[in-house]
Symmetry: C2
Subunit: 192 residues, 2 copies
């Protein structure tokens, strides 16, 4: 392996790109915006990401999953009270001020903001991961039987997803976080 060595940390640069993509959305984040935030120039940018912005965004979605949903999913796997963890996650989305999800859901935004089928497919994948994990966690909860009697389990993922993506839009309408939290509490009562 010969050649000059990179003057930037790839992962750090990816994290900075996430900041820009999250705030502005895929389409509105220009390659120049991204390069500035990542602290690199065009040359390095198109060397590291040969397919440009799209490739960077795909990698940023993977990285985002490691940073945010994965720790949650890991916690869910071992928790005795998964519902409380899930509730806090929904709260974070409803709470526009919070440090997480200040700009909404990274993946749901992608789903509604771009027409790129490749990116939408990836976003779908990550959202499904979370919804399926929620379903599995609550199926293992002590009071699962009661919940099952109310709603068939194959509808649980679509139930979570609709609530999640709904909140992602409704938070732009209803600015009172308390009311959104009340709605979340009501919807999650299904699993109590």
């Amino acid at each position: 392996m010969a050649g000059r060595q990179k003057q930037y940390d790839e992962q750090q640069a990816l994290d900075r790109a996430i900041d820009v993509f999250w705030e502005k959305g895929y389409e509105h984040a220009s390659s120049r915006d991204l390069q500035a935030a990542m602290g690199i120039g065009k040359g390095s940018f198109y060397l590291a990401f040969k397919d440009g912005k799209q490739e960077l965004f795909l990698k940023s979605m993977e990285r985002f999953f490691v940073l945010h949903p994965r720790p949650l999913l890991d916690a869910l796997r071992t928790s005795a009270a998964p519902l409380d963890i899930i509730r806090q996650y929904y709260y974070a989305l409803a709470d526009a001020q919070g440090p997480f999800h200040r700009f909404g859901c990274y993946y749901a935004n992608t789903l509604t903001q771009t027409e790129d089928e490749c990116l939408k497919t990836a976003a779908r994948h990550y959202i499904r991961q979370v919804a399926d994990a929620f379903t599995l966690a609550l199926l293992r909860a002590p009071n699962a039987a009661a919940s099952l009697a109310r709603l068939a389990p194959e509808l649980w993922p679509v139930y979570f997803t609709t609530l999640w993506t709904g909140l992602n839009a409704t938070r732009l309408l209803e600015h009172d976080p308390a009311r959104l939290r009340q709605l979340i509490d009501f919807q999650l009562r299904l699993f109590e």
Copy 2:
């Protein structure tokens, strides 16, 4: 009133603009796209809509409301079974194939796809109109008391909105309309 007379029908042109905006979204509908669909040139376009694309879209949102939500709201005001009407409206959004809402919700799309505060404020306004009308209609329904006991009425608009905007995104994930209809049925059981 002197001067040459218009060679196109303003309302027809507006309807064509809606087609383009609905399919492509505000940002992705270029002024040239719109002019072509409306059958007019730059000159007529910027004479009729001095503030350009933004003004056209604002007017298209008003026109859209007259075309689609208003008839629904009128029907709700007099119906003895408002829940059935509401259910069909949700079905139409879930059913990606249907003639209406083939490209999702005109207003919810605006809310998540653009950063223009002026347009978002207008979109919020129209969505609220519908959610409030749903609430009023169901409060007048014969079995309103039972529904009230389950969920406080001030949460009804946010309940409708979250389901609506949620479906608007979930339809991009879950392509089986039957499953979405099952979810709608379950959510609307609150008002039975």
